[in-house]
Amino acid sequence: MSILKIQNLKKYFATQKAVDDISFEIKKGTIFGLLGPNGAGKTTLIRMLTGIFYPDEGQILFDGKKFDPINDVVHIGYMPEERGLYKKMKIGEQALYLAQLKGLNKTLALAQIKEWFVKFEMQSWWNKKVEDLSKGMSQKLQFVTTVLHQPKLIILDEPFSGLDPVNSNLIKDEIYKLAEKGCTIIFSTHRMEQVEEICDQIILVNKGKKILDGTVKQIKNDFKENLFRIGFDSMPMLNGTAPFEIINTKEFSYIVKIKDQYKPNDVLNYFLKDGVQINSFQEILPSLNEIFIKLVEGTPMTRQFQPAN
C-alpha cells in the first residue's frame, strides 16, 4: 500500500522547468530519500506535496485518494530547509500554536507537547523564548513541532544540519521509531552517508527530472563496476592472461576489474592455482556519493535558466 503516488508531476515557472514530469511511489512506513543537487527542483516538488504550490500538470494520490491540500495537510508534517520560528514567542506557546494550526485541540496538543518535551529533555524550556535558544536547541523544537500532530507523512528537508552528533542520533532514533509506527518519512538531503544509513528507497532528481529510482542496495548493484579488492601476504607475479584488469595497485593489494564473461571465482582460481596466499577478497560497491557525483557531473552545477515552453 503506497501512501503517496506521484504521476507525471509538472511545475513550470517563467524562467525554468522546476519539476518536469516526475513520477514515483512511496510505500507506507518507509524512509524515502529525495536526493538532488542544489536547484534540482526538490523544494518545488516538496512544496507541491505539502500543498503550498499547485502542480501545473500530473496528479498526486495521497493515501489512495486524490491529494486535497486543504484537508490533507493535517496529515503531513513538513520541516523546510529554510526553517524558522517566531523569535519572540515562548517555546511552549509556539508549539501549541503550530499544533493547533494543524487541527489539534488544545488539550490533546498540550499532552503531545509534554510527551515530546520529556523525550527530548526540554521540559524546562517551556517559558523561554526562541531567541534565547541555541541553533541545535531550536532545531530540536522545530522537529517536535513537525511531528507533534502525528502526521502520516513527514517531510524533512536537511534535518540534521546544525546538530551535534548526540542530537543527530537522538533525532535519527526518533525517525526510526516513527517509521516503525507506520509513519512515512521523506528525507531530503545532500549528505549521502546519512541516506545510505537511513533510507529504504531513494530517488535522484536533477534538472527537474527523475534520473534514479530504487532501493539503496539495488542502485548500488546497478552501478557496480565489478571491482574487487584482493589482499595478499606478498605481492604475486602475474603471468598468462588474467581474467581481470588491474585498476590500482596498493601495498599488498590489488584493485581489479573483472572482465566480461568472468566471475569472481575465476579470479580466485587464477591466483590459487599459482599457490598465492590470499588474505582478503572483497567486492567494492560504489558509494551513493560516487553515484551521485557520476550522474550529476557534467551537468552544470547550477541550473541554467531555460524558457519553460
Binding site: 517563467a14 526553517r83 524558522g84 520560528l85 517566531y86 519572540k88 503550530l98 494550526l101 513541532t145
Partner: protein, 437 residues
C-alpha cells in the same frame, strides 16, 4: 475559518500583552490630561488683577466702564495723576484728554499690559463711547439691540440652521482636524505593524512552515484582522479614557479655576473675543461637547473610516513586507507608492475642512485612497448639512469595494513573495505574479 481565528488570536494577544502597547494605551491619555490641567493652571495663574485708575473723566466713563473682578478693576479716584499712580498701587493709568489735537485716550503703565487686559479695556471703552454717541444722537440702545438681533435671526433662517444647532465652526475644525490626524497616524502605525509582522515571518523563515499548515491568504488576513483588533482596542480605550478624564476634570481643577473659566466664557460671549489658550478652548469644547456635536455619528464614522482606511492600506503594506528581504532601504522604496496617497490626503485635509463644499474636498472624500482622512475632516461640519447622505454612502461603499480589491491584489503578491528568499522582486515580476494566478 477556524485557522484564521487561531492566527487572529495569536496576532492579537502577542501584541496586546506587549509592554509597549500597555504603556502607550494608558500613558497617552494621562499625558493628555496632564497637558490640559497643566496649561489651564498656568493660564489662570498668569492672569493677574490689574487696577486701572481713570483720570479726567467727564462722567460717562464712570457709568459705562464695568470692572471685571478677576482681571481688570477701574477706579475713579480724584487725586491720581501720571506721577503718583504707581505709588498708589495702580498698575495702569487711563488718561482722557479733552483737547482733540493730542491723542484722546492714553494708557500708561510701567509694564506692558497683557493682550487680554488691553482687549478688555478697549472693549469696555468702545461700548462706552458707542453708548455715548448713541445718546448724543438720540438713538434708543434697546431698539438698536433688538434690530440687530432680528437681523441675526434672519441670517440664521436663510442658512436653514436652527438656532440650537448652530455649528460651532471652531469646534468642528478641531474635531475634523483631530480625527483626520488620528486616522493618518494610526494608518501609518498599524500599517507599518502589519508590514513588520510579515517581514518578521519572512526573515525568521517561519513563513514556509506556516503555509504548509494554512493558506497564505489566511495567514495574511489573520495578521491584518488581528492587528485591526489591536488598533480598535487601543482607540476605544483612548476614547473611553479621554472621556472619563474629561468628565472628571473638574475634580482635578481648583474651584477657583472653574469659576474664572465661567467668567471668561461670559466675557467672550459679550465681546466675541477669541481666546487663544488651548486649554481654555478645550474646556469650552468640553462644555459644548455633548450638546453641539452629534457624537454618535462622529464616533461611528471615525471607527468606520479608521477600519476601512486601515484595511485598504494594510494588505498593501503586507504585500510590501512580503517582497522585501532584510534590507530596510528596499522597504523605503517599495513603501513610497503606498505612503504618497496617505500623505497627500493629509495635505488636503486642512483645505477640505476650511472649505467642505469644494471639489477638492468632495473628490478627496470619495476616492478611497484619501477618503478615510478627508471625509473625517468634512463630517465634523455636520451630517447631512455639510456632507449629504448620498456622498457619505458613496464614499463608504467605494472604500469597502476598495479594500476588497487591494486585499485581492495584495494577496497575490504576498502569496509568491512570502516564499521568495534572497532575491529582490522587481515591479515587473510582481505584475507577473498577479497576472499568472
Amino acid at each position: 475559518m477556524n485557522k484564521i481565528f487561531i492566527i487572529i488570536k495569536r496576532e492579537y494577544f502577542t501584541r496586546v500583552k506587549n509592554k509597549t502597547f500597555l504603556l502607550s494605551t494608558f500613558l497617552l491619555p494621562i499625558v493628555f490630561l496632564l497637558f490640559i490641567v497643566g496649561s489651564t493652571f498656568l493660564a489662570i495663574k498668569s492672569q493677574t488683577k490689574e487696577y486701572i485708575a481713570v483720570v479726567n473723566d467727564s462722567g460717562f466713563f464712570k457709568e459705562n466702564l464695568k470692572s471685571d473682578s478677576s482681571s481688570v478693576i477701574f477706579d475713579f479716584a480724584a487725586d491720581v495723576n501720571s506721577s503718583n499712580y504707581i505709588e498708589k498701587g495702580y498698575s495702569g493709568l487711563l488718561q482722557i484728554n479733552s483737547d482733540t489735537a493730542a491723542k484722546r485716550y492714553v494708557i500708561e503703565s510701567p509694564k506692558s499690559l497683557s493682550v487680554g487686559t488691553m482687549d478688555y479695556i478697549k472693549g469696555q471703552m468702545n461700548s462706552a463711547i458707542e453708548n455715548n454717541m448713541l445718546q448724543q444722537l438720540n438713538i434708543n440702545k434697546n431698539l438698536l439691540d433688538s434690530i440687530s438681533k432680528a437681523s441675526e435671526n434672519a441670517i440664521e433662517l436663510s442658512n436653514e440652521l436652527k438656532t440650537g444647532e448652530k455649528a460651532n465652526a471652531q469646534l468642528a475644525y478641531g474635531v475634523g482636524f483631530g480625527s483626520g490626524i488620528l486616522i493618518y497616524i494610526t494608518m501609518f502605525i498599524f500599517g507599518a505593524m502589519v508590514m513588520r509582522g510579515v517581514m518578521e515571518e519572512k526573515i525568521s523563515r517561519i513563513a514556509e512552515v506556516m503555509v504548509s499548515s494554512v493558506k497564505p491568504f489566511q495567514l495574511m488576513m489573520g495578521k491584518i484582522i488581528g492587528i485591526a483588533a489591536v488598533g480598535l482596542t487601543q482607540l476605544l480605550l483612548w476614547i473611553l479614557l479621554i472621556f472619563v478624564l474629561l468628565t472628571s476634570m473638574e475634580l482635578f481643577l481648583p474651584a477657583e479655576a472653574v469659576e474664572q473659566f465661567k467668567q471668561i466664557q461670559e466675557t467672550q460671549q459679550q465681546f466675541g473675543v477669541a481666546n487663544n489658550t488651548m486649554a481654555l478652548e478645550l474646556l469650552q469644547a468640553k462644555a459644548s461637547f455633548i450638546s453641539e456635536v452629534n457624537w454618535l455619528v462622529i464616533i461611528s464614522c471615525f471607527l468606520f473610516y479608521f477600519l476601512g482606511g486601515y484595511l485598504f492600506y494594510a494588505s498593501l503594506f503586507a504585500a510590501v513586507g512580503s517582497v522585501i528581504n532584510e534590507d530596510p532601504q528596499e522597504a523605503q522604496a517599495l513603501m513610497l507608492p503606498i505612503t504618497m496617497p496617505i500623505i497627500f490626503a493629509f495635505i488636503i485635509l486642512a483645505p477640505s475642512i476650511d472649505n467642505p463644499e469644494s471639489s477638492l474636498a468632495f473628490w478627496g472624500s470619495i476616492i478611497p485612497f484619501t477618503s478615510p482622512i478627508v471625509m473625517m475632516g468634512r463630517i465634523a461640519n455636520g451630517v447631512p448639512e455639510a456632507v449629504p447622505y448620498w456622498q457619505l454612502f458613496l464614499s463608504m461603499s467605494l472604500l469597502v469595494g476598495g479594500f476588497i480589491f487591494t486585499t485581492w491584489f495584495a494577496g497575490k503578491i504576498y502569496r509568491t513573495g512570502i516564499l521568495l528568499y534572497g532575491k529582490k522582486a522587481s515591479w515587473k515580476e510582481m505584475i507577473k505574479w498577479i497576472r499568472r494566478s
